[in-house]
Amino acid sequence: MPELTGAQILWECLAREGVDTVFGYPGGAILPAYDALVDAPIHHVLVRHEQGACHMADGYARASGRVGVVVATSGPGATNLVTGLATAMLDSTPLVAITGQVGSGLLGTDAFQEVDVTGVTLPITKHNYLVTRAEDLAGVLREAFAVARGGRPGPVLVDITKDAQQARAAFDWDAAAPKRQHRRPTPQASIADLDQALAMLAQAERPVILAGHGITLGGARDVVQRFAESQDIPYACTLLGLGALPATHELALGMMGMHGEAWVNQAIQEADLLLALGMRFDDRVTGKLSSYAPKAKKIHVDIDRSEFNKNVSVDLAIHGDVQSVVEGLLAQATPRERPDWRARLRALRGDASVRDIQSLPDHGVLYAAHVIHDLWRLCPEATVVTDVGQHQMWEAQYWRHEGERSLITSGGLGTMGFALPAALGAQKARPDQEVWVVAGDGGFQMTSCELMTAVQEGLPLRIAVINNGFLGMVRQWQEFFYERRYAASPIQSPDFVKLAEAYGLTAFRVDSRGQIAEAVAKARAVTGPSLIEFRVQQEDSVFPMVPAGAALDEMIRRPAPSVLAETGADTA
């Protein structure tokens, strides 16, 4: 039995768990681990801020389906992970965070850089551990990875005291196998549940599938698509469900919810059956609960049964992973067609297209939605990582995501500053994939220091900064709901081109729609990272919009072009 230091055990376990890259920042209490890293077969990405490291591990995990790993020191290093852990928790990303901790003899004494990080992160991790003995390390790490991956995935934090990193212990991989996993076997849907679901489906005339992130996490894309085709059921996606099923399929409706397309929300309100797969009826999805899908019976399939009946009362809750449940349904369902329902949905969709910003002449104004639409046309195969705000919603509306994991975005927590570091992680996980950052001028400035990390790593990231001079979504809410009192929403920015060049990127600026294609072609030809600043219309809004607390079909719609022409609102 080899005897290793705790630090050596750490890297040995990570390597055996399949980790090839970690994102981190060194410091006093984690120094023994960093010393042993020199001899480990693991690449370390040095970030500029630990929050960035956590988002990178998150992006790495979302792009690849593997567990992302972030490393930080004690105290401020660990507390800087908090936003990233909460982001991963809300979006069910499998993550393992390793933090250094002061020596076990100093615990509880307010020692230099001591923070009770297991206490701080208790509500924003799936589980966490404080390890004070080297001999406990292997067992804890193996369980940490199993917990992060298992069931509904999530972040796990392992806090390791400095002396536990330094002490030596026998290393026995097999003996350290996780022992508590048998308590939570993968739930299996009962025959009775499947039969009831099939009976409800057979009676439904106007069913809609609500497709969530759980389809991707559960590897259920193929079977759900085949089931939708067999039953002729259109599907609407949550924000994180975009890309879970192909967007240009004839059954694809688009995104639901607050900024979902009008016909999607209308379809949900008219449906007589909702089949919710791996989604959680978030308030941004349902609008006012008392008037949500009033005519629909609801079937909810999820691997996490604490989500059942949380926001929306359902008629049938099936506890299981989406893949096996839908396989069970598909095996027994008789194929059918629903021409009337499909015709009704086509009619709903027709009305929306005249209001679509794609139909608007630009009059020389650069619309953010046009930028995103053109980016999609030029780079349809790219993975897109967005920040949070207006550009995020336009991306969700105008970028048609065909492939799985082709959109990475902070949905549940809505973390500004997520895009650049998460894209870095995604690029690291999939080096051959074209990765685009789409960020606003506000969020981009929150974590723009990670540009240097991209340069140091030599990553060919493509970055689109959508600059409208405002915290756009805040401004939009102020316009609609706060009488245009623009409190703290106008924001100045540095010259993004010069900023990027100072970091060593190649950068371009675009002011009109005609320049987009050439700038994108130039940006894509650069060997390292490149950036394009798009100076867009300052006071455009995301339509349609369901105001917070309103019913899904009470949407604020984009004025039709004829109205715009009369009021001159389009000739800014």
Partner: protein, 168 residues
């Protein structure tokens, strides 16, 4: 309609487990009426009885959330016919004149005298929550000098409760 629901859980006996249960209940706004933890008969395990004020669906959600905690071994939502017992210790102001009446009440509730002083006595009473509540109410006119209650300790019945019921 909200009512009391009794939840029984076996937990790994390790530091921080109680923190996790308490933090979960706080974060999800579950209303805890009582929480008792003690070593379980199985080595390395603690036994927790949690009483929450919730709807039936709410109580099931508490169970579903508890099941997600890594160091929770098992969780059961007890039924109304299952066993749940509180313990209370009550120090009653009671000189020689009042003593016979208080002792008579104690006998009605099958309470025991565990401390006796010239002007007070301490009674120990176990029973379901309702019984203990009533016991305290009948003592209150005499003057309650101190009161300690344990919160429920519970156990599922193995079989259907007898039609007549066994008095608590």
């Amino acid at each position: 309609m909200t009512e009391s629901h009794c939840i029984l859980a076996l937990l790994d006996d390790e530091p921080g487990v109680l923190d996790r249960v308490a933090a979960l209940c706080r974060r999800r706004a579950f209303n805890i009426q009582s929480l008792t933890v003690s070593p379980a008969s199985e080595p390395g395990a603690s036994r927790m009885t949690l009483v929450v004020e919730a709807t039936e669906i709410g109580a099931r959600r508490v169970v579903a959330h508890l099941e997600k905690l890594v160091n929770v071994q098992s969780v059961d939502l007890l039924q109304s016919g299952d066993l749940a017992r509180d313990l209370c210790l009550a120090r009653v102001a009671c000189g020689p004149a009042a003593r016979p009446a208080v002792l008579q009440l104690a006998e009605v509730f099958r309470a025991r005298v565990v401390d006796l002083a010239a002007d007070s006595l301490v009674l120990e009473c176990t029973g379901n929550r309702t019984k203990v509540d009533r016991f305290i109410e009948v003592l209150r006119p005499y003057g309650l000098l101190d009161l300690g209650r344990s919160g429920a300790v519970a156990m599922a019945r193995n079989s259907e409760p007898l039609a007549l019921g066994i008095p608590a």
